[in-house]
Amino acid sequence: MTQRETDTRSGTEVEPSRAPDPVRGGDRARSVERLARLFDRPWPSIIAAFVVSLGIGLLLVVLAGGTAAEAVDVAYRSTVGSQQGMIDSLVYTTPRLLVAVGVIVALRSGQFNLGAEGQLQVGAIGAALGGAFLAPSIPGPLALPVSLLLAMVFGALWAGLAAVLKVWRGCDELITTLLLNFIAIYLVQLMVQGAMKDPSSTFNQSKRVIAVAELPRFGFTRLHYGIVIAVACVVLVWFLLDRTALGLRLRSVGYNPVASRYQQLRVGRLTVAAMLISGAVCALAGAGETLGVQFRLIQGFSSGFGFEGLAIAFLASLRPGRALVIALIFGGIFSTATRLQQELGVTASLAYVVEGLPIVLLACAAGAQALRAQRKGIA
């Protein structure tokens, strides 16, 4: 429709008709930009959203037959009020935080990676493969690093598949990653029923991870070093995105792939890079559960960490540091819900309601604010 456009700065020709596919998703890219801007919420509004949703959670506990005083008491004891509560909260925080920082890398780069669940599932397969099958035949000190590395490679490839399909075939990664979630979940089932099944067990589970491949634990508690890895990932992802050239390029693609291409950034490669990194970090969530909590590959080890992690990333305005804080709150919510189920008989699924509400509320507030600003601008 137009003639060849010329990039005036470098003089290279860019052919509009051969626009690489990441650019085709201009609508989606626009929404990433919106996401970054709209979710740049000040702390007070985030706190307000949490207060409302915790209030509704409390109401639900009362409706389910508990009393508010009991609920508050349980919430205190399952979080900061007791050592066991703190440990439980941190154990629940670990996978959610890893997923959150993992998807932050993708989202800030303009890639809608909704496939964290799948990436952590294949990560668990990789970790079990390393910890239970390879580890006995390699030197002890290498067992844990090899298991973690395998998990990261599996997760990176799983996410990379979606990225390659996007660049090569123009497949919207949002749908691809959602579909890959379920393929991964059934892949785990396939593994524990077949190739990786422990022949000495009647349950569908893999062999136990050998001791040297386990994640070390703090003292005699159930808290494993996954939390250390998760916090390290927070720092690394922050450093990558905010302090390196690669991070700048990734964010540039996230904000505007078309402009990035005119800046001679290789949008396709950066798309793949963002997804590889994102998948590798998300996979660590699965590795942490396999090597630090379950010690085997089992079905259903993740109670939907993938989507909870996404919720954390959104609430954290896609910032790794904030994600740490929000993930700690989510860990506390989950720990509370679990104990509420044990003590008051309130279903632990309450946690999903309390976690899902604030992002819907904040998204509504952000949307309404953007609408007001737009109308004011026109008037």
Partner: protein
């Protein structure tokens, strides 16, 4: 491989396609109008729970089915309030909505039905052979010995095509999705149309959930019953290029992939693990997505809130 042409296999495929197609028809209209409903998973789940709950209270599956459609309509409208009226980001709301519905339905199930739901007779929605047409060889067994829901879809799908491409309503829906700002400037009330589309989408998704629980699962609701079929619906809507006819064809393909497990023993001799069959519809969706991906052109304003 002769099992693959047996009427039993294709009859199962069509039966299993019904819930997917119901939801995908609504999602097609929603996406044509520019609303990308990731929350379709949650809408279907709420419909499934609503159907099981109302059916168990009233003892009548038809009432349960209607209750599910109503629950879907109400939640679809609420979803619309967030993404259409408040202009909230559609992906974010979808993720949050699905989490909330998953938690709420699981809580309600345990809170309201601690001893389990009473499953009423689902015979009203079971297979009913049509007179004359049902006597046709093969075709009769495949197409005309089905649940009334499937018969409803034989009418609903062509009506959807007609509505979308041959009426003023369809033109408005497509205009709103392909140029929301221009439509708005031309005096079309974009939010109103998108709200109505979301109510329809919710109703059909609720009915799809009801079909899943009352027909496919024999009336037994379990937590997270929908288990990703909502995402299959999203994929189907998009690789079928937002056309109800192609959507129907794709839904039958999914049904066939789902039905493979029924003939597995006879065809593959039981050597193939069940997980492969559970995975099959998702693999098929991915393959279709890869084949069709590049050629499809989405409605321009799909997923973008109207800022005007």
């Amino acid at each position: 491989m002769h099992n693959l042409v047996e009427s039993f296999f294709w009859a199962s495929a069509i039966a299993l396609a019904a819930p997917i197609l119901l939801a995908a028809l609504g999602e097609t209209f929603a996406q044509r109008a520019g609303v990308f409903t990731i929350g379709i998973e949650g809408l279907m789940l709420s419909g499934a729970f609503g159907a099981a709950a109302v059916a168990s209270w009233s003892g009548d599956v038809i009432v349960g089915f209607a209750g599910a459609a109503l629950a879907g309509a109400v939640l679809g409208a609420l979803y619309g309030v967030a993404v259409v009226l408040f202009r909230a980001d559609q992906v974010v709301v979808g993720i949050g909505f699905n989490l909330i519905v998953l938690g709420a339905t699981s809580m309600l199930r345990r809170g309201l039905f601690p001893t389990g739901m009473e499953v009423p007779s689902t015979s009203a929605l079971d297979r009913h052979e049509l007179p004359l047409l049902g006597d046709l060889p093969w075709i009769g067994e495949v197409l005309f010995d089905q649940s009334p829901i499937v018969y409803a879809l034989y009418v609903l799908t062509p009506f959807g095509v007609f509505l979308l491409f041959r009426t003023r309503v369809g033109l408005l829906v497509r205009a709103v999705g392909d140029g929301a700002l221009a439509s708005s400037a031309a005096g079309i009330r974009v939010p109103r149309i998108r709200m109505w589309v979301m109510v329809v989408n919710g109703t059909l998704a609720g009915a799809a959930g009801a079909t899943l629980v009352l027909v496919n699962a024999g009336g037994v609701f379990v937590d997270n019953l929908v288990d990703g079929r909502g995402y299959l619906v999203l994929a189907l809507t998009m690789f079928a290029r937002w056309h109800p006819g192609w959507v129907a064809l794709g839904a039958v393909l999914f049904g066939a992939a789902d039905a493979l497990q029924f003939i597995a023993q006879a065809t593959f001799g039981g050597h193939v693990p069940t997980a492969v069959f559970l995975m099959a519809p998702y693999l098929l969706a991915l393959a279709a997505w890869v084949v069709m991906g590049k050629r499809s052109r989405a409605p321009s304003d799909l997923g973008v809130p109207l800022l005007a």
